[in-house]
């Protein structure tokens, strides 16, 4: 029985790693051995940095990286700024009301991005937010906010209420007790929310392709390059898109525990 499990495990691990390996191959092996061949070599026959150089020498990519960076940071900041008061309020309100509001917030998550993005793009044109990082961040926030509130809610709920009560008894007002007691204690949840929102924005495509098409973010640039036929550069850009996220995911795996995800579920 154990043997079968181990065989399954090995197959599964190959399944997990193979696509990442392919990405590595296409990025670092000269194209004549990979995508320009009828049947590409499965092993790195030669290594080269020329695909990467091609990407780095492309001014469009530098601008796209900057746009993505700008947008993602904004999304993270707004997520935390809106998420903390929201989660705090939710943690204090009676359960039925908190439950209803959480449901509303998650209903937001349910709206298909493409449905929302179409009118938002048209409206943004009129108010001058079209193609801007701020406009895009405000739209992408829709994906980040419910999750952030949920995580922070779990964080706040796991802080013993006595600590805050103690601070109030000692004479601190509402805001002081929040800033000086709760937020430092919730530090990890806040960092996790910021990073998670940042990652969600960095990857995001649907809003980006509709709201910021002229000066695109990196995912949109990759898409544009695949449709315009230059798949090699698209692969090199993809590497730049992936590395920060892979690093952050490994960092965050301590925070992506079931506990945080199930935080708001504590009944």
């Amino acid at each position: 029985m154990n043997k079968i499990i181990y065989i399954i495990l090995v197959i599964f691990i190959i399944f997990l790693i193979y696509p990442i390996y392919v990405l590595f191959l296409v990025s670092f092996v000269p194209a004549i051995f990979t995508v320009d061949r009828l049947y590409p070599y499965q092993f790195p026959v030669a290594l080269t940095l020329s695909n990467l150089e091609l990407a780095l020498s492309n001014p469009q990519m530098i601008h796209a990286v900057y746009k993505s960076l700008e947008t993602a940071t904004l999304v993270g900041i707004i997520a935390v700024s809106l998420g903390i008061p929201t989660a705090y309020g939710l943690s204090k309100l009676p359960e039925k009301i908190a439950y209803a509001i959480t449901t509303i917030l998650f209903t937001v998550n349910m709206m298909p991005s493409i449905v929302i993005a179409i009118p938002i793009a048209a409206d943004f044109i009129k108010i001058g937010l079209f193609d801007t990082a701020l406009g895009l961040a405000l739209a992408q926030e829709l994906i980040a906010l419910p999750l952030t509130s949920f995580i922070l809610l779990g964080t706040f709920q796991s802080i013993p209420p006595e600590l805050e009560y103690q601070a109030r008894v000692d004479g601190a007002g509402l805001f002081r007790s929040i800033f000086e007691v709760l937020i430092p204690l919730a530090r990890e949840g806040i960092i996790a929310s910021f990073l998670l929102s940042w990652m969600l924005s960095w990857d995001e495509f649907t809003f980006a392709v509709l709201i910021s098409p002229i000066r695109p973010t990196l995912p949109v640039l990759i898409y544009l390059y695949t449709t315009r036929g230059n798949i090699l550069e698209a692969a090199a850009f993809s590497l730049f898109l992936t590395i920060p996220v892979l690093i952050l995911t490994v960092f965050l795996q301590k925070y992506l525990r079931g506990e945080y995800l199930g935080g708001g579920l504590k009944g």
């Binding site: 499990i5 181990y6 495990l9 599964f12 399944f15 997990l16 790693i17 696509p19 990442i20 392919v22 296409v26 995508v35 320009d36 009828l38 049947y39 590409p40 499965q42 809106l82 008061p85 929201t86 309020g89 204090k92 309100l93 009301i97 509001i101 937001v108 998550n109 349910m110 709206m111 298909p112 991005s113 493409i114 449905v115 929302i116 179409i118 009118p119 938002i120 829709l142 960095w202 495509f205 649907t206 995912p219 990759i222 898409y223 798949i231 993809s238 898109l241 992936t242 996220v245 892979l246 995911t249 490994v250 795996q253 992506l256 525990r257 079931g258 506990e259 199930g262 708001g264 579920l265």
Partner: protein, 280 residues
């Protein structure tokens, strides 16, 4: 007003900014889309002409294919997520490494995932055919028909997204008291019975949440099919974008978007009913 009620109001004020934001940026545009889908640029009255035109352009197929992709992807991800979670929980050798490895696909951006899998499945220069050739099997043209094209979309999507199921299943496992299992094995229940009578019922709530979260994302998948298979076979999202990007036919895209919204709402209702009423 009592002190508690006054406090409640002030706590509600904390939530207000988020609620306003959500209304302005989500509910209002969604209402706009539904409203516009029943209008056309020439008349002010309600009309179904956008929907009728969509039917000519393949709306029924798009709906069918979208449903196939959603059902296929959710099943596959549930299977993978539950499987890996069970392996981790049973603390098979190297489970810590397995946990981190299994999270990696989720770190790959959807666009990168799409580009990557198109490298794997492209008819010339594709790695999948490279493997098939190397082990002596006949190569497959993965783009030769709708079933295959839908299959590679499901595969690419599930590879990337099953970690969500895995994480939620792990959370669910963590919530099951150990004593239940111990009592059951004392009573003589084997692995399979323990799974179906203890694990599954307790996981039901988590499975429902995972289905809702992932299911909505599945209805919404856009970057992946756009890059991997293009506009045909059509899914509801790619159909919407296809008509959005040609300015003359923008109203068709509103109609397609409205139908997508309708399906998602129906889906949520179904899952909630089956899962026994949401979160508690």
């Amino acid at each position: 007003m009592s002190a508690i009620k006054r406090e409640n109001v002030s706590f509600f004020l904390f939530i207000l900014p988020a609620l306003i934001y959500v209304t302005v940026f989500s509910f209002y545009p969604a209402a706009e889309v539904v409203w516009l889908s029943f209008h056309s640029p020439v008349s002010n009255s309600l009309t179904l002409s956008n929907f009728k035109a969509l039917i000519y352009f393949g709306l029924p197929q798009a709906i069918l294919y979208t449903v196939i992709v959603v059902v296929g992807a959710l099943s596959f991800q549930l299977f993978l997520g539950m499987g890996v979670a069970s392996l981790i929980v049973s603390k098979v050798k190297g489970y810590r490494a397995l946990y981190i490895l299994a999270l990696l696909p989720y770190g790959i951006a959807t666009v990168v995932n799409a580009v990557d899998f198109s490298f794997i499945f492209q008819p010339t220069g594709g790695f999948a055919n490279g493997i098939l050739k190397a082990i002596g099997l006949p190569t497959v043209n993965w783009y030769s028909g709708t079933p295959l094209e839908l299959f590679i979309v499901i595969l690419a999507d599930s590879w990337r997204n099953f970690p969500v199921f895995m994480l939620l299943m792990l959370a669910g496992y963590a919530s099951i008291p150990r004593e239940l299992y111990e009592a059951a094995s004392v009573d003589g229940a084997g692995v399979v019975r323990r799974f179906f009578e203890i694990t599954l019922p307790n996981l039901k709530k988590y499975i429902a949440i995972a289905l809702i979260i992932r299911g909505i994302s599945e209805f919404n998948i856009f970057a992946l099919p756009l890059i991997l298979i293009g506009y045909s076979p059509p899914l509801l999202t790619t159909l919407t974008y296809e008509f959005y990007s040609t300015t003359v036919t923008k109203y068709y895209s509103y109609a397609a978007a409205t139908i997508l919204l309708a399906f998602i709402i129906v889906f949520i209702v179904i899952v909630l009913k089956l899962g026994g009423g949401g979160r508690r």
